[in-house]
């Protein structure tokens, strides 16, 4: 008998790690880094799912969110929607199996992208409290509501059903989840409160009721009655596919030939384009896709990059739209001026995307300090990692001084402004799985900057018109303050009576107010041109005379 080697020993220790186990140990990859963030992630994943489901089912969403504080660091999260519900058989898989879902395999603008969210919440809750998730769902008035208590078998990545019963439910349809987890509730820029406010802003078609741990109920009313256009699913564009994915697709395709595969599994590939790719790659277009070797696949991959293929269709996107974005802003931000810009769709790495920017200016917004940035991707607020986000780069790169804000070099401008930047795409490139920051693709930054500039121009024209007028009035008021000063100085200089001089000046001011306002306009025109109005100013001094 062969001797037992070290390799045998090691082999006993080597075993497959289930995805559930992996995430148990690497929860930060999903955004559950700390209890504060975990609470936010739970709400976020559940609400994102609810909104996505409603959009797909063409239902105006009514969402109820409740946080109950059970202990110092233990919370119950409840999220309920009026969505289409989930058929009984699917409930355990959707909630109790990581990476299960319909979203990962297709290209379509949606809130969740990786299908990892809600089951990760269950897993986190189970890890920190030992309890599972309670899911109630009803798919129509004629159907019964199903009630499940679900856990996850972390070894097998399989759901464990602890309870399964039929219950009475007041609603006609919808889904309700309840989960207990370890968390910390704090207010501020990265709080659940902020998330709910922002999601209401970017989804003005949704009605949201939020009950805070302090038992305060906040109503976010519906701003528009129209449903957003349903995003269409598209096939991947050849430019966006990576080599590994290409190989996998060829294994899975139903097409019989490479040429057929290229045409049917991608968008924008005609038979002539397919032939061209195959010719460049020196691959037989009639070959069976499954027989293509790795290095042939690489040739195909390279040939794709070298072939001119028209950009993917962009009608698959569903931006919020300028009007709705303004309504959302008006609803949630108390300002005096609002504008929004939706850029036409563009493409990065074969993926269609579109950028929207909204700006709220003035009113009760804080005048001092940096402007407030709200970032969104596919209608989901991004609350963490602002500095790492393409949004930040595009904002600091824009010359805000041209638009009436102050800005020091390479930094966020200052002023009473809330700037919303929203990216919609069939695939938003995040910098990490926690989906907190948009990656820095030059095409994306360029579009963001164009949108910011256009919105900036609209804001500036408002500032010029109204704010400047207000300042002008303030300057006229200054005369009233200057008069006693001048009268005093002149009295000292000449020995005349101050009161007499002051009275005459005040009379003149009243008489001449209209002319003064005209003068102000004139003076400003000249200021704009950069000319000096008064003498003795901006002298061209050719010498630094020491006198």
């Amino acid at each position: 008998m062969a001797e037992r080697t070290k390799a045998h020993e090691l082999a006993e220790m080597q075993r497959e790690i289930s995805i559930s186990e992996f995430f148990t140990k690497n929860r930060h990859l999903l955004g559950f880094d700390n209890p504060r963030k975990a609470l936010l992630m739970a709400v976020k994943e559940a609400v994102d799912n609810s909104l996505d489901a409603c959009t797909e089912a063409k239902i105006l969403p009514d969402i109820y969110i409740e946080l109950q504080q059970l202990k110092e660091d233990r919370f119950k999260v409840i999220v309920e929607d009026n969505g289409p519900g989930i058929v009984k058989e699917q409930i355990p898989n959707i909630f109790g199996k990581l990476l299960y879902g319909s979203k990962f395999h297709r290209l379509r603008q949606g809130m969740g992208q990786q299908g990892i969210g809600i089951s990760a919440v269950l897993l986190y809750g189970q890890l920190t409290t030992g309890k599972g998730m309670i899911v109630t769902s009803k798919i129509g008035a004629k159907y019964k509501a199903h009630y499940y208590e679900i856990h996850i078998d972390t070894q097998k990545n399989e759901p464990i059903i602890k309870q399964d019963k039929i219950v009475e439910w007041k609603n006609d349809q919808g889904t309700r989840i309840e989960v207990e987890l370890q968390g910390i509730y704090q207010k501020g820029k990265q709080s659940v409160d902020e998330y709910v406010k922002e999601i209401a802003l970017i989804n003005p078609h949704a009605k949201i009721i939020y009950k805070t741990p302090e038992k305060e109920t906040i109503n976010y009313a519906r701003g528009i009655q129209a449903l957003p256009k349903e995003p269409k699913e598209i096939k991947p564009h050849p430019y966006g596919v990576e080599l590994g994915a290409l190989i996998k697709m060829m294994q899975a395709t139903r097409a019989n030939t490479v040429s057929g595969f290229l045409q049917s599994d991608f968008c924008r590939v005609s038979s002539s384009v397919a032939e061209e790719i195959c010719a460049k790659a020196k691959v037989n277009p009639r070959a069976k896709p499954v027989t293509i070797a790795r290095d042939e696949a690489e040739s195909l991959y390279n040939a794709i990059q070298a072939t001119k293929i028209i950009a993917p269709p962009t009608d698959c996107l569903s931006p919020v739209g300028e009007e709705a974005l303004i309504k959302g802003l008006k609803k949630e931000v108390d300002a005096e001026f609002y504008c929004a810009v939706s850029r036409p769709p563009s493409v990065y790495r074969g993926m269609p995307f579109s950028i929207e920017v909204g700006i709220a200016y003035g009113g009760s917004l804080e005048k001092e300090g940096a402007i407030r940035i709200m970032r969104f991707a596919n209608r989901v607020p991004l609350l963490y990692q602002q500095g790492a986000c393409a949004t930040s780069e595009s904002i600091t790169d824009t010359a805000w001084k041209n638009y009436g804000l102050s800005q020091s070099k390479d930094s966020i401008p200052a002023g009473p402004v809330v700037a919303v930047v929203h990216m919609v795409s069939v695939w938003v490139p995040f910098t990490s799985e926690a989906k907190e920051a948009v990656a820095h693709y030059p095409e994306i930054i360029k579009e963001m900057k164009l949108a910011l500039q256009e919105a900036g121009r609209q804001m500036y024209s408002y500032i010029r018109k109204t704010v400047r007028a207000r300042e002008q009035q303030e300057r006229v008021n200054l005369f009233e303050k200057y008069i006693p000063e001048l009268a005093g100085s002149l009295a000292n200089l000449t020995g005349e009576k101050k009161a007499v001089i002051q009275e005459s000046l005040e009379k003149s001011l009243k008489k001449g107010m209209k002319d003064l306002l005209a003068e102000i306009k004139e003076a400003e025109k000249i200021e704009v041109k950069g000319k000096n109005i008064a003498f003795g100013e901006k002298q061209e001094t050719l010498e630094a005379e020491n006198d």
Partner: protein
Amino acid sequence: MTKQDPKKELKEMGLKIVEQIKKGKNPEITFPLRNLSNIVFDKKTRTLKLGDKEGTRSFFNVAHAKKFLQTVEVASVIKEKLLGTGKHSSLRDVFYMVKRTVPGTNVNLVDEQTESDKAIEDLEVITNLSREQMHVNANKNGSVAGKVIIEDRGDTIDWSKLGSGGWSIPSNVEEIKFKKVDAKYILYMEKAAVWERLNEDKYWQKNQAIIMSSQGQTTRGIRRLLQRLYEEYNLPIYVLCDGDIYGAYIYSVIKYGSIALAHASERLTIPGVKYVGITMDDIEKYDLKKHFIKLDEKDYARIKQVSEYEWFKDNKAWQRQFKMMKDFKSKVEIQSLSSKDISFVSEKYLPEKIKNKEFLD
């Protein structure tokens, strides 16, 4: 220059304004423009002067109001607190005397010293008074030595008995009385270090001269002192500068006046002044090429600018110097003469050049 009563002048300016106010008019002050567009070179007197363009500053004008107030307030402060008490102050003092917040606003009457400085310059052109006559002085700057005895505020000062430092020239030399002046000429130099060399070598004693310097640009006080000695004692003035375009301009300011002080040309310029060195010809003659400092872009730009000034444009001798500067692509410092001997400048260079009348005019 006529003898004026500064207090009266300022009061009269004020009275004119009050008169307009009482008539219900928008009060204005009119005075010559002081910007480059209104600087002219007067060919007859060969000095820079203000042209006849006038500006008007009125109170009920958004762009002018604050400046109007500043001008009147500065005038009032000078009349009351300086002329009224007989005290003198610096420009900085005036700034603090004027600075305050206008009640009911967050506006300061002046935010920076440049604003009160400008107001004083404005008063100079409005009233034709000099800053010194208004008891406002700049920092003293520069040294002088020679066989001269003066009286300054009751003290008698002998310029030949002040050791290594010499007499430091105040910014206001109007009230100085000359008791005895025993000199054949005045040597003015750009560099204090060269002055110290000449003073240590007792140049003024050996050559019967007055030596004077500042550091860099020539201040008003020095220019006025030079002018008084030139006019009252008919002393020739020779200027010693680095062999570069900036040296030429220092000479030019003393001789023709400056753009910033064109309104005061009458009191400050000395048309008879001559340039003794360093000239471009000295470079060959005294073998200074090994001490060349390369010209940079700024130097070339300045050469172009200065050579096109009206008062240099037709001056062949100077145009030749400018061309040589460009050909050499270099400049030299006065102190490069020290490579021969530390006292070469005082014992050989200057006496020789002055004796042979090797001047540029």
